[in-house]
């Protein structure tokens, strides 16, 4: 491998390291966008599941889930 090839390789590696750092910080803030929804889902389940829900959709899902235990 020639010196110029190695220099190009070094430069590419430095660039990759920098991009990896940017990805890491983007991931930190992404938590709210992606996992912030964990809070949403969690509290939804809590409020939904604590009581009987009577919408058609939820009734249908409940029925599907219960079916194996009714048989």
């Amino acid at each position: 491998m020639s010196v110029s090839d190695l220099e190009a390789s070094l430069s590419r590696e430095q660039k990759t390291e920098k991009t990896k750092g940017l990805l890491r910080w983007a991931a930190l803030f992404l938590g709210e966008l992606r996992d912030g929804l964990t809070m949403v889902r969690h509290s939804t389940r809590r409020s939904l599941n604590g009581r009987q829900s009577t919408t058609t959709l939820t009734c249908a899902l409940r029925l599907i889930c219960r079916a194996p235990f009714l048989l």
């Binding site: 991931a27 809070m39 919408t55």
Partner: protein
């Protein structure tokens, strides 16, 4: 927080909120695979991911500002749209990651990404819970967190230039990013393609290995997703300001453990392979259910403060299980999609299986608890959670390419023949 906000501040009923988030979950499930397919076929990955982040935030703000009893159908539409848009986030981040570091660097980088992700969530949930506790029941101002996080996300993401992403590596068609050599991809499904073109979506979706893994993902989330809400209900937490604080504490404990689990996955999965670490993640769930069943028998439905702390401490196991799974499923998907050119789509399929598993889980757990009681619910979930572990143990091979053929670049920095040596690097390469 959104559902609590909608019920308390906007006067929505539980069933209206249920319909909103059902629409959200359904479109999220449906859009995961097409989102992954799109990332496989676009070179504007950063732009798509940025747009998804901005739109998600705008819709959260729209919900906070404009939700009312008079525009319920509009809100259903908004939530359905938001569900579809958020599905562009996981395959986007992971496609970009694989495009930057290649398959060989995924272990380290995915672990770091996941650690930071959980850390960010833990910080925000902790701060959010304290603010909500102070402001309860008027928690509207809490939504300001979303645009702040979005700005931080956009600032760092948009400093990544498109040239830094090797789009062939992002799809899993090359082992190492920015390399001329596609590398030995035989460990994945390279035999399906045979060249540098990607396999057809139908061929991918009928691959037995991927199908088995999708079933594992679905069953894991079906069993695991409902345990936390059941624990919370068992302790009767979730009411008033202290309930918000306790809920937040539960999530924070789990998230902190997830940071540690992601770190362990990054350090050891490249060394010892994926299978045993993944089995630890899967095996934690039945253990957790068994402990919870034991504690419920002990407390006889009336736990003391000490017993409540013991029940809450099972969240530590949730952190280990979900943390390990969250990191390892990306790595295993990357492994098995190697050579197909369909990493994004494969990740979309596995994430969709997890979404639908999570949705079913909530209803399954509640149906069990209501019909059979909490003790029996935990016992049934324990049995259910053994199934994905058993399937993985007997039907999934070790997906990491032969670990004996991997060398760490750190060990290969000795100068040869007077030439300059490469600097130390954290990632590993195939030999």
């Amino acid at each position: 927080m959104q559902s609590a906000f909608l019920i308390v501040a906007k006067g929505y009923t539980e069933k209206q909120v249920g319909a909103l988030f059902f629409a959200f979950g359904l479109t999220q499930f449906l859009a995961q695979t097409p989102a992954g397919y799109l990332y496989d076929n676009t070179e504007n990955k950063v732009r798509w991911l940025s747009t998804a982040g901005v739109l998600t935030t705008l819709m959260t703000l729209f919900t906070a500002l404009f939700a009312s009893d008079n525009n319920f159908m509009l809100m259903v539409f908004i939530k359905a749209l938001q569900g579809a848009i958020t599905s562009f986030i996981p395959p986007g981040l992971n496609s970009i990651t694989q495009g930057v570091v290649g398959s060989v660097g995924m272990t380290q980088q995915v672990a770091v990404n996941e650690m930071m992700n959980h850390l960010g969530t833990a910080i925000i949930v902790l701060a959010g819970s304290l603010i909500a506790f102070a402001l309860s029941p008027n928690i509207g101002p809490l939504f300001i967190v979303s645009p702040i996080a979005c700005m931080g996300f956009l600032f760092f993401l948009n400093r990544i230039s498109s040239d830094d992403i090797d789009h062939l590596a992002a799809r899993g068609l090359k082992l190492e990013a920015h390399s001329e050599d596609p590398g030995d991809l035989v460990g994945g499904m390279a035999s399906l393609s045979g060249d540098e073109s990607s396999v057809s979506p139908m061929k991918l979706m009928t691959d037995p290995l991927l199908l088995v893994f999708i079933v594992v993902c679905f069953l894991f989330h079906t069993a695991n997703g409902t345990i936390l809400p059941l624990v919370m209900q068992t302790l009767a937490v979730g009411n008033g300001g202290s309930g918000i604080l306790m809920s937040g504490l539960c999530i924070v404990i789990a998230q902190v453990l997830m940071v540690a689990s992601a770190k362990i996955c990054g350090s050891y999965s490249q060394k010892y392979g994926r299978k045993y670490l993944f089995l630890i993640g899967l095996g934690i769930v039945p253990i957790r259910c068994a402990i919870l069943s034991g504690l419920l028998i002990w407390t006889q439905g009336n736990p003391s403060v000490f017993q409540q702390v013991l029940i809450l401490s099972t969240q530590i196991l949730d952190g280990v299980g979900a943390g390990t799974f969250g990191t390892m499923y990306i790595l295993v998907t990357s492994d098995i999609s190697g050579g197909t050119g369909r990493f994004g789509m494969s990740l979309g399929l596995t994430t969709a299986a997890m979404s639908i598993g999570g949705m079913v889980s909530g209803y399954l757990g509640q149906a069990l608890a209501q019909d059979l009681g909490y003790l029996r619910a935990f016992q049934i979930l324990m049995v259910l959670s053994i199934i994905p572990a058993a399937i993985y143990l007997f039907f999934m091979p070790e997906t990491l390419r032969d670990p004996s053929k991997i060398k760490d670049i750190n060990t290969t920095t000795q100068p040869e023949n007077g030439e300059l040596s490469k600097p130390k690097s954290n990632y590993v390469e195939m030999v």
